[in-house]
């Protein structure tokens, strides 16, 4: 496992991502709220570009005391990314498929040294 230079951290704004090829691997690197997350770009469903689709917060529902709905809302504490091929949705913090947490994208470690970002692969 070696650290491979990816990019300058200053080139990564919050919410940005990069898709890189590293030998035989394709990796999606996300920057979300100041933290980096990196996962295999091959969707567990049919191998689609899992990290290239929509990023969206988890949808939850406000319930009043009598259990009637006060509307849906986006839970900013959770963040998902969605494979653009068939909509497999993954948790950005863990790489787990949100409908079945047993399914998990391969996670890569990201190391930041000063202004440089490295992926460990």
């Amino acid at each position: 496992m070696a650290e491979q230079f990816v990019s300058k951290a200053s080139e990564f704004k919050d919410g940005d991502r990069q898709i890189i090829r590293l030998g035989e691997q394709e990796i999606g690197i996300f920057k979300h709220e100041g933290n980096f997350y990196a996962y295999s770009n091959f969707c567990l469903h049919q191998g689609g570009p899992a990290c290239e689709g929509l990023t969206i917060a988890g949808v939850k529902e406000h319930l009043r005391e009598d259990k009637t709905s006060a509307g849906l809302y986006f839970d900013e504490k959770s963040m998902h990314f969605v494979c653009p091929w068939h909509g497999y949705e993954y948790d950005m913090f863990t790489g787990e498929q949100v409908a079945d947490r047993k399914l998990k994208l391969k996670k890569y470690e990201i190391v930041q040294k000063g202004d440089e970002v490295y992926v460990v692969a």
Binding site: L22, G47, L54, V59
Partner: protein, 203 residues
């Protein structure tokens, strides 16, 4: 004595008898292997990974086995980039190739007015959750909606076109129909007039 035709018919049957029976139901070990493969996902370098890459790049060939990537060339000026050279030595691993950069949604305020607009939107959403629907008085709502309509239309006319709602806005179809209906009524427009204008203006 059998005819040649009968012999020809019998031959494939005999061959099928000798062949292993094909079962529609996979065996337990096959099912376990399938589940294991699903859990592990697509391994880089596997045939499935190649197929996926070939789907994205129609020109790519399936080789059956991916050749090892070439070793990364040594940095030209090791002294100039000591940190990178230390971590990314020549021959230590494959080279990083950036395939694409995807910019995040611009939910960041770049003007003081935008910052105030974000704060107000957040405040209104929070009040709505608490059931305080009268947090904004009718005249204030009218002034705000009117100003937003004018500013959005001016941007549209100037060619600065963008979706009126962000992808992450939790606005339902019913919300939109209520507001659009009220806006049309406020300026005494009928839905068919909107339809006509849209078809004439090509919007």
């Amino acid at each position: 004595m059998s005819s040649p035709k009968a012999a020809a018919k019998a031959a494939p049957k005999a061959a099928r008898k000798g062949a292993p029976a094909i079962s529609a139901e996979p065996s337990k070990s096959e099912k376990a292997a399938f589940l294991k493969a699903m859990m592990e996902g697509i391994k880089p370098g596997s045939l499935a990974a190649q197929k996926s890459a070939a789907k994205k790049e129609p020109g790519a060939k399936l080789l059956g086995k991916v050749p090892k990537a070439k070793a990364a060339p040594a940095p030209k000026t090791a002294a100039a980039k000591p940190a990178r050279a230390a971590s990314n030595k020549a021959g230590e691993g494959p080279k990083v190739e950036i395939l694409r950069k995807i910019s995040g949604a611009s939910g960041v305020a770049r003007t003081p007015e935008s910052e105030r607009a974000f704060a107000l939107a957040k405040e209104l959403d929070a009040a709505l959750v608490e059931g305080k629907i009268d947090i904004i008085q009718a005249p204030a709502m009218q002034a705000l909606l009117g100003a937003l309509c004018r500013v959005y239309a001016a941007n549209e006319d100037a060619g600065n076109r963008y979706p009126i709602l962000a992808g992450r806005a939790a606005v339902t179809g019913t919300d939109v129909m209520i507001v659009c209906g009220a806006l049309l009524k406020a300026v005494d427009l009928q839905v068919f007039e909107l339809g006509m204008w849209q078809s004439w203006a090509g919007r």
